[in-house]
Structures are given as C-alpha cells and as structure tokens.
Subunit: 470 residues, 2 copies
C-alpha cells in the first residue's frame, strides 16, 4: 500500500484556505457506526458545499498524501465508512450538497447532489406524482451518494433493480481533483466504456460521486399487500412463480420471513403487532403495484386461493387498507432491529441462484446444527435470491459468550455460498468487513484487474484505503 | 499505438497446433459489412469451439503481437468488426460456440455461449414460456456476444433496457488468454468493482466475451399494437405520458415514424402494405404487453379516445389480430431497408433528454434546411429519447452526388446533439466510424481513464485496435 500521511495542522490550515468555516465539522459524529459495531478515527471532517470545493479538497489531499473517506449517511453495514488503522484520514462528508438540480415528471428524471437523503428523493418524486423506488431501512438518513457508492439494494430490487439500475449519469471528482462530467439524462448512450457502473459500487475507492441523474417511475395506481404462511422456502419460491403468472413484473416486493424473526420480535419489541401467534416457521410478504384499472387485492385473493389448493400456503392476511399494509411492513422492517437487540454471532448478506435457495438454506441449517446450539434467523429478499442468513446464540446466552464462534461460523457459511456459486455480499458491499473474504472467494483474474483499476484511478491510494481491496 | 505484426505463416501454423481443422474459416465472408459500407482485410479467420480454445488463441496472438478482431454476426453498423488499416489481423469468430449451457424457467435465467444467435435465444426462452426481450432488425444473424460487446439496443429498451440490463454474469477471455469467470446467475452481487458492465459495450477492445448469464422475463399474457397519427413529436411525447398513465411500465415499445419513412417505403418497397396514404407527417407505433387479466386492446382504445379529445392524435389503427399487428411492425422494421435503398448522405444514431427531443428535431431541421435541399427521415425509439436522424439527398439525386456533404452534415448534427447534452451514439456504439467523434465530444477525464483501462487490460493493444479509442 502506498505511503500516506496523517492529517496534520498544516493540512488543516490548507483546508481552511479552501473552504468556508461552515464546512468544518466535529469529528465525534463520524467515527462511530450507528449499530456500534465499528469505531474509528479521523484527523478532520469537512463538508464541502459544491463540486468545486470537493475538487479543491481532493487536490489538496492528493498532494499531501492524506487518506480521504467519502462519507454519506454513515449507515453502511460493512465498515466502509470507518477507518480504524493507518494514518489519520480526512472524512469528506457530502451532507451540505443536498440540492436537487433538476426534476422532470415528463422525462421521469431527477438530478440530485450526492448528499441528498434517500427519503427526500422519495418526497421530491411524490410531489410530481412519480416514484423513486430505492427503499431500505436506513432511507431516512442514508444519502444517495453513499447508496450509489455501495450499490445499495433493499426492498424493491425485484421490480426496479439495485441503485445501479436507477442511475443514468454521474458527476465524479477523481482522486486528483479532476471532475468527470458524465451527468447525462439519457436513457441510451453507447459512447465508450461504462465508467458509470464502475464508479457505482466501488465504495469510495475510485472517486467521489458528487451528483447523479436518477430514474423516476410511474407510481403504481393501486397497491396491495399480503402476508402468507408457507410450509417451506421451496413453497415460497413456487408461490413466487404463481404470483408472477398473475402479476407479471408488477411484484414490488417478495420477502421471506422466518418464525425465528417473529420470536425475536415478540421478545425484544413486544409492542410490534404480530400477525400470527404462535409464529409459523415461514411466511412471505408480497406487495403488488398495478397500473390504472388493476385490482391488486382481487389478484392477491386469486393467487392465495390457487396456492391454497396447491398446498403452497396454509394461512394468510391480505391487508384491507393502508394501515393494515403498514402494519405488515412494520413486521418485516423491524426484524433487523430485533436481531440487533438479540445480538448475532455472525450475520451474512448472501445470495445464491434462486432455484438453489431452499437446498442452500437447509444445508446451511444442518452444517450449523453440527457446529453448535445456534438459533438461525434467515429472512429477506427471496425474489432476488438474497437472504440475510444470521446466526444467533441459544436463548439465554449472549453473543459475547460466542465471540469465538464468529470466524468458524462465517467461514462455514461463506464456503457453502461459494459451493453454490453464490455471493458473499449480495447487497451490503465489501467495506472493511469482507475485504479478506473477497480476496479469498473472488475470481483471481477479476481481483487482479480490480487492483490495476484502483492503481490507475488513485495512484497514491488516498481514497478509502483498506476498503474493498486489502 | 503499440507495434503489431501481420498474421504470417508461422502464426497460422501455431494456430493449427492449437485448433482442429474445423475451426478454420474462409476469409471472404468476414471482411465485408452486410450493407456494403465497410470492407477490410484479415490474415486468418478462426472459430474456436470452446473457451479453452479461445484462451489458447489469445495467448498465441498476444505472444505474437497479432491484432484480434472478436467477431459475432458481423451486423454492427459502425465498422467495429472491420479492420481496414494496419497489420493483417486474426478474426476470432464465435460462431461455433452456440451452446445454451443452462436454462431455468423457475429462475428466469439462461446461460448461453457468445456465438448463440439472438433469435435462437428468443426460441429457447419461448420453449419454456419465457421472454428474452432483446429485439432488433438483425436478430436473425446477430450473436449474443456481439450484442453484449456493443450493448445493443433495439425495440424493447423502453421496457426491458439495453443488452447490458439483460446480463447477470459473464465469462471473458482476456487479451493474454486468462479467463475471468464471473458467470454467476445472481440477481444481486456486490462483491467488488463492476467489471461486467465495463466489458459490456467495450466493443471487443478489452476482452472476448465467451458466455453470458442472461435474464428471462414472463411473457406478457396479452399484447396489443396500435399505430396512431400525431400532429408533432411534442404530441407524440404527450401521448407517451398518457400511455404511461394507463399502462405504467407495460409499454413494450413506443416508436416514432415519420411521413418521409413511409414515402421511402412507397418508392423502394411498394409491396409493403402502408397503413395511411397519403402519409401523415408523424405516427407512433405502440405495443402494450399486460399480465393475466389485462385488456390491452381496450386500454389502447381508451388511450386513443382520451388523446383524440386532447388533440394529441387525429387518426389511428388498433390491430385486431396478430396478422394486423405484424403488418404494422413490418412498416417500422422495413424503414431501415428503405433508407438503405434510398441512400443516406449521413445517418445519425443520437439521443437527447426526452423533454428536449421536439426542440432538437425542429432545430436540426432548420439547420439542415440552411445547408442544402436535403430530405430528413427522423424515426426511432421515442420512448428512449433515441432517434435515427438520417439525412438524404433530394429526390432524383444519389448519395454519391452529395458525398462531400457528409462531413459537414454530420458535424452540424453532432454539434447540436452536444449542445443538447445528448449522445452521438445512443445504441450503435463507436466502432471505427465514430472514434474521432468520441475523441472530440467525449468528456476528457473519461477519455483519459478509458485509455488507461485499455492499456491495463490489453497492454500490447491487440484487441480490436482502432475501435472505440483512436
């Protein structure tokens, strides 16, 4: 790794020449990850107000060989925003760049600066009767720059794709301060190599995204939500196929929920209204969003009846109004918090080919049963083949008691993922948590090319060192 | 540009050691572009039968410093498949790698080797009641490897995206023969830099795609097609918005057709049944594909009635059966052939932000009117903001008489595209035809990074030299 210098007084003085006082921030708020899993350090935190200021900061940092951590909402789950080792870095927060530069309902496009919070994008789209579909638990504090940097996934990927699929163009400040302006609002543009997608998901290691042109969508005219009890993950997949037969591409979400998730909710967040008691082993939360004239409740009823006949579902709730739908969604969305309160030994954000998912889930269960008395909460984005496969200590025990189990559990699961041709990071990214795993499980030719690209884009290695690539 | 050697007898002898006799092809069929616009040269043409053979060929070519032109169906429109200058190259045809390695209706995925013809992918998908949506005029001879290499567009981009959006994973042989195996069937995989999209659209200059995992889709249960007469491109866009209000994301195609296109058809291909005579100035061809229970004809009727009330359409035909729908599509699909027979001075595959399209079309018309007595056929993928903006000599004159007009006409149009923040190549790619335009109009930072990536991936410069980057 190239030699880097600590942020020192001289460097901070340089920054004061480049930026107004309003750009300087207290370090304290930026070196603790919200769940408390990661804490780090920084020499200075600045929040530039414009692309030109970002460019000036990058030029200065590159000249001084100072590490730069591009910083969005700080909500990443793999430590990409926290530097623990090495010289004191500069944290480059995008929080003051929150302007929506352009929005057009006719064109279904929006240009936002990188610091815009995801939920503000939802509101801006809604105000012109459009949908910006990116949706995940942290959307109230996550910023679009970080979402692009990590190619965030979430609840609507099945229908609308990852963050990558929502982006038409980018403005990026490179490591040396040059600005790459490819902020086009075009649906089709085949002019040269796809550097947009190369930047998206590079987790702040190749450049700093300062603005993005994003796709908007028609708001579905009618939505409906159901929670159905299924006998197994295999039945859940067959229910997905049946739902597709009826709804085509109009399935907005198809989420698997395990009984263990409901048990954690009952214990840790008893005020959340639980739909079934006792908890069934497996449930599916489905949302349909249809165009004008569609009858999504009637469609869900027809799907339920057919699936019941076929033995794919045994019980179910079709929300009769928005309040009921919100209650069902609350169950799904608070499971991560219940997990956090329960305390996992190890959490895995994995994907495998969808057909293999039931076999993977069962084989993982058997392997874990042979390793210890763990509890397993496997849930998530079934329609994408993406499970959060999280391993917990037995009831009455804490994760601290099982700290020594973390490494072997993670290795066993990741080995199994690799055997199934899956991904060890379906939607959270690599960050610092999984950089060693990527080196172990990644394709060696791809890894070598990635290293070459890193050295080409950031020859001094100042951008988010230690993230993605060791 | 690095020094390259001619294919010579020694090199051909090396290839004979590596490949069976069946892999060697006559040169003649590979150095003429189908429209007759480009002709080139080659020292040898080989068609390996496996990824291992492709790897062996690339190792040998890299060691010998011989240029390699990866070759699909040869249908590219920008000369990417034809080398005119420089040392005699090897043409690497994928035509013997046509195996579908995997197909799964449950998972909606298909893995095909690069030489598979696009239409064969349609048939394979249809056989399991699924849709592979990539669709364009050359689909009967274009191969999926070339379609990925050029990120081909076509008629269904509005709904399903470009070829890039249909790809989940790639197997790629690099310039030195190493195989990058990222042929995953995953919907979500956030493990490191996105080299898949970097390879897609790189036009054979960064590696040789040997196989791809591709997305399949549900087949729309009911389709309907209409051709509507609109007073202007602006009205066509408002019709698009109205169609979206009804059909949401279920619009499979939304194509603008100009009266000039129908006039060319009448003259050059009089057997094609024309829907309106005399030809109106502007028409829109729309196709809707709805899920089970949808009534697309009724939806098109409702859209037509509302649009008629609003003055957005004045006449129209809603196809009453598949034969009528096919007739309407034939009109759209034979316009490129009528253009070829008429003979264009200059053809432009451009896109601009959709909102600006009517202003762009009109401003372009005015600029051209000031330059000469040209005829203009502007048509194409309105829903994507992508127009084929083609300039023809006046009636009774040939393109040969106007050869000197080509450069100034192209420059005027491309300057206008740049002024509108558009793209000089929306879907055809850069190839050799537009390499100088890319150097002129591209973002300079992006171009410099592209050059760096080219040198990193292909240090000897053997892969498709002169394409994309000068």
């Amino acid at each position: 790794m190239p030699h880097l210098n600590d942020v020192d007084e001289t460097f901070v003085a340089t920054l004061h020449d480049l930026l107004p006082d309003a750009a300087f921030r207290d370090i304290a708020g930026y070196i603790e990850e919200p769940r408390g899993s990661w804490s780090g350090k920084a020499g200075v935190v600045v929040a530039p107000g414009s692309t030109a200021e970002v460019s000036a900061v990058m030029q200065a940092a590159n000249a001084a060989r100072v590490a730069v951590i591009p910083y969005g909402g700080g909500t990443g789950l793999v430590g990409g925003q926290i530097l623990q080792d090495g010289p004191l870095p500069l944290i480059l927060s995008m929080e003051r760049m929150t302007r929506i530069r352009h929005i057009d309902a006719f064109e279904n496009v929006l240009i936002a600066e990188a610091g815009t919070i995801v939920e503000q994008l939802h509101q801006a789209a809604e105000a012109i009767d459009r949908l910006f579909p990116l949706s995940f638990a942290a959307q109230g504090s996550a910023r679009i720059g970080g979402s692009l940097g990590t190619n965030a996934g979430g609840l609507n990927v099945l229908r609308y794709g990852n963050t990558r699929d929502l982006c038409l163009g980018l403005e990026v400040v490179m490591a040396d301060g040059r600005v790459m302006n490819t902020l086009k609002r075009l649906r089709k543009d085949n002019t040269g190599y796809d550097l947009r997608n190369l930047m998206i998901g590079s987790e702040g290691t190749l450049g700093v995204i300062t603005a993005a042109a994003l796709k908007l969508f028609p708001r579905p005219a009618a939505r409906a939500t159901a929670l159905m009890v299924v006998p197994s993950p295999q039945a859940a997949l067959e229910l997905l196929a049946k739902t597709r037969d009826h709804a085509g591409e109009s399935i907005s979400a198809f989420e698997l929920i395990s009984g263990m998730g409901l048990q954690f909710l009952a214990k840790e967040l008893p005020d959340i209204r639980r739909p079934f008691d006792p908890a069934p082993d497996w449930m599916v939360l489905t949302e349909l969003g249809l165009a004008t004239g569609g009858q999504p409740e009637a469609m869900l009823e027809a799907i339920f009846e057919e699936a019941f006949e076929a033995g794919l579902v045994s019980d179910g709730i079709i929300a009769q109004n928005a309040t009921q739908a919100a209650e069902l969604w609350t169950v799904r969305e608070t499971i991560p918090e219940a997990n956090r309160l329960t305390g996992a030994i190890s959490s895995h954000d994995i994907s495998v080919p969808i057909t293999s998912l039931p076999a993977f889930i069962e084989e993982g269960r058997q392997i874990l049963a042979g390793m210890g008395p763990y509890r397993l909460n496997c849930f998530g984005h079934l329609g994408d083949g993406n499970m959060h496969y999280n391993v917990f200590p037995p009831e009455g025990h804490s994760k601290a008691e099982y700290a020594a189990h973390k490494a072997p559990v993670m290795e066993a699961i990741h080995d199994l993922v690799a055997a199934y041709g899956g991904s060890i990071s379906a939607e959270h990214g690599i960050g610092r948590l999984k950089a060693a795993d990527l080196a172990r499980y990644g394709d060696p030719v791809k890894l070598e090319l990635m290293r070459g690209i890193k050295d080409l884009f950031d020859p001094n290695g100042i951008l988010n060192p230690g993230a993605v690539l060791l």
